[in-house]
Amino acid sequence: MEIKVGMADLNVCSGSDSITTLGLGSCVGVVLWDPKNKVCGMAHVMLPDSTSIRNNTNVAKFADSGIDELLRRVLAKGAKRQNLVAKIAGGAKMFSIQNKTDLISIGERNVEASKKKLKELNIPLKASDTGETYGRTVTFYPETGQYHIKRVGKELKII
């Protein structure tokens, strides 16, 4: 079975199932994986920091609160804390125009915030495919640990 994760959403899966999010742009698809127990979870992170925004009830939307919640969910699904590794993809810059107020693109900020949070939680980042200017459809397979990245008009990339 393939479990779908929407925008600003998160979910978990295990065994022979897979988990996917379609058409990632400047958002980041963060995966936490326990290779021993074949359990994983994915968060579709939209914004870097929940503390800088008043309307922050949807924890999955932010890198900081989203990864905290993702960790809680994968542990509840049977993952062991010490086994966990992470893979991330996304954070593209879809347009070259950007708000004058943002010196660094939102995609890049999402990637940085995700990396920072993983570091804080002491979860090693095993692989990443971030930045660039194209969208990505990503699928993670907890049995093999493969993170499949599909792009328009380009070959499949596996990290």
Binding site: G6, M7, G23, G25, S26, R54, F95, Q98, I106, T133
Partner: protein, 204 residues
């Protein structure tokens, strides 16, 4: 109005946007007809408040390849606007404008033609907005991206994401021989929201 969010937006503002959508689509239709030298009709535009989780239900889903043109806006209102059409519709419009000059693949000339068409269409909406509010709105030069719908829409979605979990868009339909199903998304920043509402005589 500290906790402004699109979810709590008054139905009055909704109606205003609908009206802007109507006038904008009308202006766009006239401009397109002149530019493409053919008869162009329009349908009634729909204003939709779309949850982030529902973005996949839009047209062909998150992976549908679309052409998105994005502009920053400045002046009395700051923010961004985006015009979005399916790739085949974009190609149709380009063919109309370029005639025999196009090679039917998305090259530099085709991209530039599409930017020009989008300029006309977004300009039509912005004029409608500007004349209703008496606020000056100046668009930047357009930037084009052809990619998956989800990836393109992530850009305005992130801007809306600072306010809530929904995105406000105007869906308009223009016909010549084919239906040109287009989406128009405008994201004013927080300050500009208040300015628009005040200019329209609504309580802030």
């Amino acid at each position: 109005m500290n906790d402004i969010s699109v979810e709590n937006m008054s139905s009055q503002y909704y109606d205003v946007l609908k009206e802007i959508g109507n006038i904008g689509a009308g202006n766009a239709t006239t401009a397109l007809a002149t530019m493409l030298q053919c008869k162009v009709d329009m349908g009634v535009p729909e204003v939709r408040l779309l949850k982030f989780s529902e973005i996949g239900q839009l047209l062909g889903g998150e992976e549908q390849v679309m052409a998105g043109v994005y502009l920053a806006i400045e002046g009395d209102i700051n923010g961004s606007i985006m015009f979005l059409v399916k790739e085949d519709v974009a190609m149709h419009l380009i063919r109309k404008l370029l005639g025999d000059m196009t090679s039917d693949t998305m090259g530099e000339m085709e991209k530039s033609a599409l930017k020009e068409i989008s300029n006309i269409i977004t300009g039509a909406y912005l004029n409608a907005m500007s004349s209703m509010t008496n606020l000056s709105i100046v668009p930047s030069i357009p930037d084009l991206c052809i990619d998956m719908a989800g990836a393109i829409l992530s850009v305005p979605a992130i801007e809306f994401g600072e306010l809530g979990d929904e995105m406000l868009l105007i869906q308009s339909q223009i016909y010549d021989q084919v239906a040109i199903d287009g989406f128009f998304i405008m994201v004013p920043d927080m300050e500009s929201y208040k300015k628009i509402l005040t200019a329209l005589g609504m309580t802030v």
